[in-house]
């Protein structure tokens, strides 16, 4: 047969070659009126990964006006094939938790309360504490005169909740500071 597949696309919708509903004498006014009064919402589908166990089920989040309105399993991900377990299905509820920490909080020594602070303030203060600790405790050489360049008095714990990119940077940052006490859930 002399046919090539591209020729199909010419006959868009086969039966509809040049024919429209109007030509069939159908009155579309009622449907048009109906369509005109509809309130239309818009949403986006964002593909994400369930944040619980390491099956890492893929999920689709429906986002409307910047807010998550629903989640469902990703049917294309060959592992979960659209399914989610009960906890995965509760992902949505968990993201709307009212109990979230909302702002950077600071608890001063000997204080009995949290205080809200700006990011600028806390990050500046943290950087100073890190430097102060490093400068005070950094070990350049061990007792045998070996170069060790390490900081034992500061540590990092966590976390397997972090993305690969976050972990890679956290590791680099800690080794740059000389930190050797570093650990997380992999050892739990």
């Amino acid at each position: 047969m002399q046919c090539n597949r591209r020729s199909f696309l010419k006959l868009a919708g086969a039966g509809a070659v040049g024919l429209s509903l109007g030509q069939l004498g159908v009155d579309l006014t009622p449907v048009e009126a109906y369509a005109a009064q509809l309130k239309i919402d818009g949403a986006k589908e964002i593909f994400t990964v369930c944040p619980f166990c390491s099956v890492s089920c893929n999920a689709i989040g429906y986002v409307k006006d910047g807010k998550l309105v629903n989640t469902e399993g990703d049917p294309d991900y060959p592992v979960n094939e659209g399914s989610l377990c009960a906890k995965g299905a509760a992902m949505f509820t968990m993201t709307t938790s009212e109990h979230r920490v909302k702002k950077p909080l600071y608890r001063a020594p000997y204080s009995d309360k949290w205080e809200e602070k700006s990011w600028e303030w806390v990050m500046d203060r943290i950087a100073r504490r890190v430097k102060e600790t490093r400068d005070k405790d950094f070990i350049l050489k061990d007792e045998h005169g070996n170069t060790v360049n390490r900081l034992e008095s500061m540590f990092l714990l966590g976390t397997s909740h972090a993305d690969n990119e976050e972990c890679a940077l956290a590791h680099q940052a800690m080794r740059g500071l000389g930190v050797v006490h570093m650990d997380h859930q992999a050892r739990i």
Binding site: R100, I126, R134, F138, N164, C167, Q172
Partner: protein
């Protein structure tokens, strides 16, 4: 996982041990049940009858901490019954290798043990080499010192009687499991092992898994579809966070952390690059210098040159043999040796053993940075019940962190697949992601050093560090790029272009990569492969559920590790119906093979286990701290005072810390006769920090409970629903008794031993729900990993007079 989630469906026999997959990896269980639907037998060996047991063909209860006895018995059975895959064992494992004369094993100890240091001299376990440095090998497996014969002798002691008396499993049940699983020793059958924290959280955790490795090698189940040893990793990205190494003892790509004994780059390379003289051994780690140099280039950028040893000097060096894991960290903190630190996305005040001590240790910090979604027992430790905040000196920061849906980036699933998640919504309130926090924090520290100077500022200032956090950009850095124009296989790559694979990495400074295993994941040709969502597959791949075009997996998109062991020396699959790879018309088809060499019969092939020095599957594993074969030792806290297999009661090498708060009950202590195991509950996530804050989930599992058998309840006069006190030598915990037939009394050493189980998801920040179960558990750990023994400790239980931690 050596294999991946979907591959479970290919198994003919599934041994779930040390895992409650149906409750904790529910979707993985879909693949278990698919195998079951196709005729596989599913067996669950676990102290507690759970929803996994309910959906398995049968459940076998065993006493916590006796897995090696159970598995040793299986090894013995496989050897005695001759059900091992003979060709595979002879050709592909180190069963035929001859071990040196110094090796020996007597009364529970291997040769080379030093009781003072509690360490072995592992050189006593070396293989015997010929004049070319190639190990002596007897493929007939008859040499008296070959691994096969040593193994036979080693596991001869694991008779049904002794195993049954140790584990509490009836001989009938033992036989049932052994026979069923050993039946996969045929070339066209596969059995898989699924384990989780039930195996790792023991002082013999690594040897539990080694036992499974020996079994799987004997049965020819490694490298095949439906086989393998599959760790169901617990946490959301614990595979990725291990690969990218939030750990002290390694650096990204599973390379050793430099220690004070390796003062120069050359010393490091020499000590860490294995040499093999066997032409059939791929000895993949011979390439380590390329990976290490590329990592240093990625860390220090232009500042790292061959001349300055890629800034090796600036790296911290740990003290050789020292342990910096959290168990030891908290001990040092308790001893006031730690000044400050960062805890993100982790709740150690609930999830670390001997929590009473750990909580006190945290009080000793000058400063603490935390980053979480919710307040936790860790962030608010300074105001925990029974302490006066006014006496606590610690300056605490609590940073609101963004969760998964609020950021983009990649995670790695248990099957080593990279998966990109897109940002769905903006972070709630003022939350930021961890990447932003670390980038910002370090930039501020760098600025301070640039401005004010300080100790060794160059270690920070020479870092190639981004100005702001961009996950996509870091993802590119992880893959790595060329630092100068380079030609690879006739193709010219410009400076700055992405490396196509780890085979392009070099040790001359021409390449940079944050993790060699991930090289090939983000290339010039195909972009960010963690975003690939194509279901395309060949019919051969479709048969075993291989999706090579969906995302990408390390290494080099190989979905089933050691897959060269699934074919014979001609490259023909042992099981043609479920072929993983096949040599066809001069090339490999199917999965990405472990190296592109042709089959062994061509003379140009390589032994299939390319990551081990000699290329063989390691039945004999001389690299472990606690012996080349697994051996049953009792948990550190044990209800019995003898070990039926040797005079060595508990592991001679287990790790521990020793403060006045680190008490251990002596063996068979009448004060603590009951075995405690701990676990998760389906409705709550790990320490419960997230799920306790969801009212409808809290309604379904509202309070800390302890599951006890009706027999024990009767003995103790405890009724269902009553408040009880559980006590170990370290602490006491209140819980509500849940009397259930799902916990069975076990007959051990001729008498009844009771086991009880508790979840650890409740904490005082959710009032009335109870508090940390880990106040009971001990700080003792595996000698290889320092993972603590959460799964087996000794306690007692009694009715409570009054309850203060639980709402009534």
């Amino acid at each position: 996982m050596t294999n991946h989630w979907i591959d479970i469906k290919n198994a003919d026999s599934i041994l779930i041990m040390g895992s409650n997959a149906a409750e904790h990896h529910p979707i993985s269980f879909k693949w278990v049940l698919r195998a079951k639907d196709a005729g596989a037998t599913v067996m669950h060996v676990d102290p507690k009858f759970s929803r996994t047991s309910a959906r398995s063909d049968f459940h076998v209860p065993l006493r916590s901490g006796t897995d090696i006895a159970f598995l040793g018995g299986m090894i013995h059975y496989i050897l005695e019954s001759g059900s091992y895959f003979k060709k595979y064992v002879a050709e592909y494992t180190n069963a035929g290798l001859v071990v040196g004369k110094e090796y020996g094993f007597q009364d529970g100890l291997f040769t080379g043990y030093d009781p003072k240091t509690r360490l072995y001299d592992k050189s006593k376990w070396n293989f015997e080499l010929d004049e070319n440095g190639v190990p002596l090998r007897d493929v007939t497996l008859q040499h008296p010192r070959c691994v096969f014969q040593l193994m036979r002798r080693h596991y001869e002691r694991y008779s049904l009687d002794k195993v049954s008396a140790t584990t509490g499993v009836s001989k009938e049940n033992l036989r049932r499991v052994y026979e069923t699983f050993a039946a996969t020793g045929k070339p066209d059958k596969a059995g898989t092992v699924m384990y989780a924290l039930g195996w790792t959280q023991h002082t013999v955790g690594v040897q539990n898994i080694r036992s499974a490795a020996i079994i799987q090698l004997l049965l020819g189940n490694i490298g095949v579809a439906g086989g393998g040893i599959n760790a169901l990793r617990g946490e959301p990205n614990v595979q990725g966070s291990t690969d990218h190494t939030l750990l002290y003892h390694i650096i990204p790509g599973y390379m050793a952390m430099p220690h004070n004994g390796w003062q120069t780059y050359e010393e490091y390379i020499k000590a860490n690059t294995p040499v093999s003289h066997d032409p059939l051994s791929a000895n993949w780690w011979q390439h380590k210098p390329k990976y290490f140099a590329s990592l240093l280039k990625a860390w220090y950028g232009e500042n790292a040159t061959r001349e300055n040893e890629f800034c090796y000097e600036l790296l911290p060096k740990i003290e050789k043999g020292e342990d910096y894991s959290y168990m030891f960290l908290f001990d040092r903190m308790y001893q006031n040796k730690i000044r400050g630190g960062i805890i993100i996305g982790l709740n150690p005040m609930n999830s670390v053993p001997n929590t009473n001590k750990v909580r006190k240790a945290l009080d000793n910090l000058d400063w603490l940075v935390t980053a979480e979604l919710h307040h936790s027992e860790t962030t608010d430790n300074w105001r925990r019940p029974g302490v006066d905040p006014k006496k606590n000196k610690t300056e605490v920061f609590l940073l609101p962190s963004a969760h998964r849906l609020e950021k983009e980036g990649s995670v790695t699933n248990s099957g080593r697949w990279l998966l990109w998640h897109y940002q769905a919504i903006k972070p709630g309130y003022e939350a930021r992601n961890f990447g932003q926090m670390f980038v910002d924090m370090l930039n501020r520290v760098r600025n301070l050093y640039a401005k004010d100077g300080g100790v060794l500022p160059e270690a920070l200032l020479k870092l190639d560090w981004p100005q702001s956090y961009d996950a996509e950009e870091v993802c590119r850095r992880i893959n790595g790029h060329f630092t100068r124009d380079t030609e690879i296989k006739g193709k010219l790559y410009k400076k700055g272009q992405q490396v196509p694979s780890f085979t392009a990495l070099a040790d001359d400074g021409s390449t940079s990569s944050l993790n060699w295993l991930y090289a090939g994941s983000y290339t010039e040709e195909d972009g960010n492969k963690s975003k690939r969502r194509s279901a395309e597959q060949t019919p051969m791949q479709a048969k075993i559920g291989l999706y090579p075009n969906w995302s990408w997996c390390w290494p080099v998109n190989r979905r089933i590790l050691y897959n060269r062991a699934s074919v014979d020396e001609q490259g023909r699959p042992f099981n043609p119906a479920k072929a993983v790879i096949e040599w066809k018309n001069g090339k490999w088809v199917g999965d990405v093979p472990d190296g592109g060499w042709p089959p062994l019969a061509t003379g140009k092939g390589r032994n299939p286990f390319i990551m081990s020095r000699h290329g063989y599957g390691q039945i004999f594993g001389p690299g472990r701290q606690d012996g080349p074969f697994s051996e049953h030792y009792e948990p550190v806290e044990t209800p019995v005072n003898s070990n039926l297999f040797s005079g060595q009661l508990s592991s001679p090498c287990y790790k521990s810390v020793s403060s006045e708060m680190d008490l251990l009950a002596p063996p068979a202590d009448p004060r603590f006769p009951i075995v405690l195991t701990t676990y998760n509950v389906t409705e709550h996530w790990c320490g419960g920090g997230e799920t306790r804050n969801v009212p409808n989930l809290l309604e379904t599992e509202p309070q800390l409970y302890v599951e006890i058998s009706p027999e024990l309840a009767k003995e103790k006069g405890i009724k269902n629903g009553e408040g009880v006190i559980i006590e170990s030598i370290r602490g006491r915990v209140e819980a509500i008794a849940m009397v259930t037939v799902r916990m069975r009394p076990l007959k051990v050493h001729g008498r009844i031993v009771h086991e009880i189980g508790m979840p650890f998801c409740f904490g005082w920040t959710t009032p009335g729900t109870g508090d940390s179960t880990n106040r009971l558990t001990p700080s003792v750990g595996d000698p290889n990993t320092t993972i603590p023994e959460y799964k087996a400790s000794c306690v007692n239980i009694r009715k409570a007079d009054k309850l203060t931690e639980l709402a009534t």
